[in-house]
């Protein structure tokens, strides 16, 4: 990752779309899909991905506008540029879909995920886990004499690296929410 936190393959730092449409490069894109919060809408979106053989890396959904009955689905997907274009077009033509934003190409965005880690251990390992949690700004949300539950928000990469560090220190379970993302600026 570059210091600007721009992901590989992203062209958000350029005024032009530099991607070669014919290149068979697999890219990762974060899409924000604004939908009517009606029954079955999530099944519809997931069904589109499974039915047409697209990938879902992570998916989050919740109602974001109660009065208007609107939900926001954030989906991280991978594919060739042509497949990513197809995914966006296929999503956009669904009846309950109001907006589709490709946060990866529409400019800089912030991406955050929340994760809970259960780490069990005693002695040195326990102290080391706590020390690392501090460095990563993870909070202790549950504690016994033999375990911690840490809560952390951050990019998926940060969560991955914390999980790697916890593994030898007694990592028992992880729960992750998947990515929520917004574009930067007004």
């Amino acid at each position: 990752m570059s210091p600007l936190n721009i992901k590989k393959g992203s062209t958000s730092h350029s005024a032009y779309d530099l991607r070669d449409p014919n290149a068979e490069v697999i890219e990762t894109h974060t899409l924000a899909v604004v939908v009517d919060n009606e029954s079955g809408v999530l099944a519809r979106v997931i069904g589109l991905f499974s039915g047409r053989g697209y990938n879902i890396e992570s998916l989050t959904v919740a109602e974001t506008d109660h009065a208007a009955h609107m939900s926001r689905i954030t989906v991280v997907t991978t594919g060739t540029p042509q497949v990513i274009e197809q995914i966006k077009a296929q999503l956009a033509r669904m009846v309950p879909v109001h907006e589709v934003h490709d946060l990866t190409v529409e400019g800089p965005s912030v991406q955050r995920e929340l994760a809970l880690f259960k780490v069990a251990g005693k002695g040195e390992a326990r102290i080391e886990a706590l020390r690392l949690a501090e460095i990563f700004r993870a909070h202790v949300v549950d504690s016994t004499l033999e375990s911690f539950v840490f809560e952390m928000t951050g990019t998926p990469e940060k969560i991955d690296s914390f999980a790697e560090l916890m593994r030898p220190l007694g990592l028992r379970e992880i729960a992750r929410t998947g990515v929520a993302a917004l574009s930067r600026g007004a």
Partner: protein, 584 residues
């Protein structure tokens, strides 16, 4: 004025408000309240089918031949699952349908009740959209919205699942004009900058070709009119997919015939050799493109489609235009005229000379016989004897379908109903009934193969009951002809399960249904028999015994490009590699 009524009455009221004249359906426990309402009125006609698949195909035939939304009504559980094939067929061919299904009462949903199925779950991938209405207050608005979705943008089938308690409960009816405006409003006007690029390319192209599809038919008669005007004015050659036949007349000067796997030699070579491809409302289906890598390698491509997801899905294009075919053609034609009606005359003259050379190959030539009826000959005679009549054609799926597309000429849109995308055997007979219900005075012929026809032959009962004088023109080769052809070419002539054993006597079958049948096997008797069929006042089953082993040519083998098409039997030895074999 607010009107309180039951959900069941709302259904009938909303259909009336939407201008529905006929509903194809089959009753059952979960739709009895709606059937009770249908019984108590005379504005909407109900056509009782014999199987729910038939209801959907009839609604498709009705919709395709009128440009209106087709409506079907089925019960819960098996009623809904039987509709699935028809819904998928309509989705792939972009046919506007509203299908109403009954459901177990809301409090029973999820309990595996009698005749319960997760209908919205099952039909989600095979409808454009669907709704489960759990509140009578929302029912009428949902029905109005459903009609809007079915006919807007790229048309398609929608389904409304209505639990029985919602049909019984009372609420206020929302009239059409009071219904909430849907946010679903697909763009119909094309981007004018892209249309300008389109016109610029058309002005200079040396070897242009119009490649048109079902989108022209779906856009309405005005789109076909504009297309004709554009083609005549530019002098560009035009070909069409199976779905688009009739939008440009087969008798037109610029007509190259259908393209694709069994398309005409001149059409496919024009696609391969063109320098400008103008795709109007077609979707680069795999039966059209052949091998993607070698598809029309030297052309700039313009693609006009109302569905943005059709663009760049399979073939990358240079000028994408999202919009309704009629609107885009109108803008493009106006712009082209305003810029001085320019075309590359010298280039075009050379291009037509080349096309005439391809035409001279006469790719539809077949070896006729005076002993046995060749299927191509049967269709040539059918064409000759019905030409100029007020005629509608439906088909089943297989060799006969391709021959019908090759040998029958269509002068107007909405006259040709065939299952293109899904390739549904059993489509043609019910579709022909749907067409006949919409056009009671017209000649409606279903060109069929005996195997396909048997798949929904129960609908002859519907034809009889509702006095739909549909003509079933069955090219009977006692084979699953297209399967047999592929087995011959691809599977070492091992004809695994591709013959029709134990066929019924079609003449007796016609008599059993109470209509008339005829069997013909001598070419000499063909004309008289066809005339008898046309003149007969009622449904008619024509058992036309044809050559059993005729293959359908021309043919682009799977996995091959357009310029490697086969013209006849001598061409077919070892042509399809193992890679092509997996492409079907």
């Amino acid at each position: 004025m607010t009107r309180q009524m039951t959900g069941a009455r709302m259904v009938v009221q909303a259909l009336k408000d939407q201008g529905v004249e006929v509903v194809f359906g089959y009753p059952g426990g979960a739709v009895l309240p709606i059937y009770d309402e249908i019984f108590q009125q005379n504005d909407i006609r109900h056509v009782l089918v014999r199987h729910e698949q038939g209801a959907i195909h009839m609604a498709e035939g009705y919709a395709r031949s009128t440009g209106k939304v087709g409506v079907a009504l089925v019960t819960s559980g098996p009623g809904a699952t039987n509709a699935v094939t028809g819904l998928t067929d309509a989705l792939l061919d972009s046919i506007p349908l509203v299908v109403l299904s009954g459901q177990v009462p809301t409090f029973m949903i999820g309990t595996d009740g009698f005749q319960e199925a997760d209908t919205v779950g099952i039909t989600r991938p095979c409808t454009k959209h669907n709704w489960l209405v759990k509140d009578t207050a929302k029912l009428s608005e949902t029905i109005h919205q459903a009609f809007h979705v079915a006919r807007s943008g790229r048309p398609g089938p929608v389904l409304i699942d209505i639990p029985k308690d919602v049909q019984f409960a009372q609420s206020i009816y929302t009239p059409m004009e009071k219904a909430k405006v849907s946010h679903y409003q697909p763009v119909v006007k094309g981007d004018i900058d892209q249309i300008t690029r389109m016109v610029e390319l058309m002005e200079t192209a040396e070897r242009p070709v119009f490649y048109t599809g079902g989108g022209v038919v779906n856009s309405g008669p005005a789109a076909s009119q504009l297309l004709r005007e554009f083609v005549e004015a530019t002098g560009f050659p035009i070909t069409s997919t199976l779905m688009g036949l009739g939008s440009y007349p087969a008798s037109g000067k610029a007509w190259l015939g259908m393209l694709g796997m069994h398309g005409l030699y001149e059409a496919n070579l024009a696609m391969h050799g063109c320098d400008l491809m103008i795709n109007i409302g077609a979707r680069f289906d795999d039966r059209i493109t052949g091998r993607i890598k070698d598809f029309s390698p030297h052309s700039k491509k313009i693609h006009v489609d109302i569905d943005p997801s059709s663009i760049n899905k399979v073939i990358r294009v240079d000028v994408p235009i999202v919009g309704d075919v009629g609107h885009v053609l109108e803008d493009a034609l106006r712009l082209w005229k305003a810029r001085g009606r320019k075309v590359n005359k010298a280039g075009l003259a050379k291009w037509w000379k080349q096309i005439e050379e391809w035409r001279a190959v006469k790719c539809l030539t077949y070896k006729n016989s005076d002993k046995v009826i060749k299927p191509q000959y049967a269709l040539e005679r059918l064409e000759a004897l019905t030409k100029g009549m007020d005629r509608y054609i439906t088909t089943e799926v297989g060799q006969h379908q391709m021959w019908a597309a090759q040998f029958l000429g269509f002068e107007a849109p909405n006259r040709w109903m065939t299952s293109g995308g899904l390739g549904t055997m059993g489509y043609g007979l019910p579709a022909s009934i749907g067409v006949q219900i919409a056009h009671p005075e017209s000649l409606v012929i279903n060109v069929a193969g005996e195997a396909s026809w048997l798949m929904n032959m129960q609908e002859m009962g519907t034809a009889m009951q509702f006095r739909a004088p549909v003509k079933q023109f069955i090219l009977n080769n006692e084979r699953l002809g297209m399967v047999r052809q592929w087995q011959e070419l691809l599977h070492g002539e091992r004809y695994s399960s591709s013959w029709s054993e134990s066929l019924p006597d079609f003449v007796k079958l016609a008599e059993a249904f109470g209509c008339k049948g005829i069997q013909v096997s001598d070419p000499k008797d063909l004309d008289d028999a066809i005339m008898e069929m046309i003149r007969y006042d009622g449904p008619f089953i024509f058992d036309c015994r044809v050559e059993k082993h005729e293959n359908c040519f021309p043919m682009i083998p799977s996995g091959k490009p357009h310029n490697e098409m086969l013209l006849g039997d001598a061409d077919t030895q070892g042509v399809i590699g193992s890679k092509g074999a997996v492409l079907v």
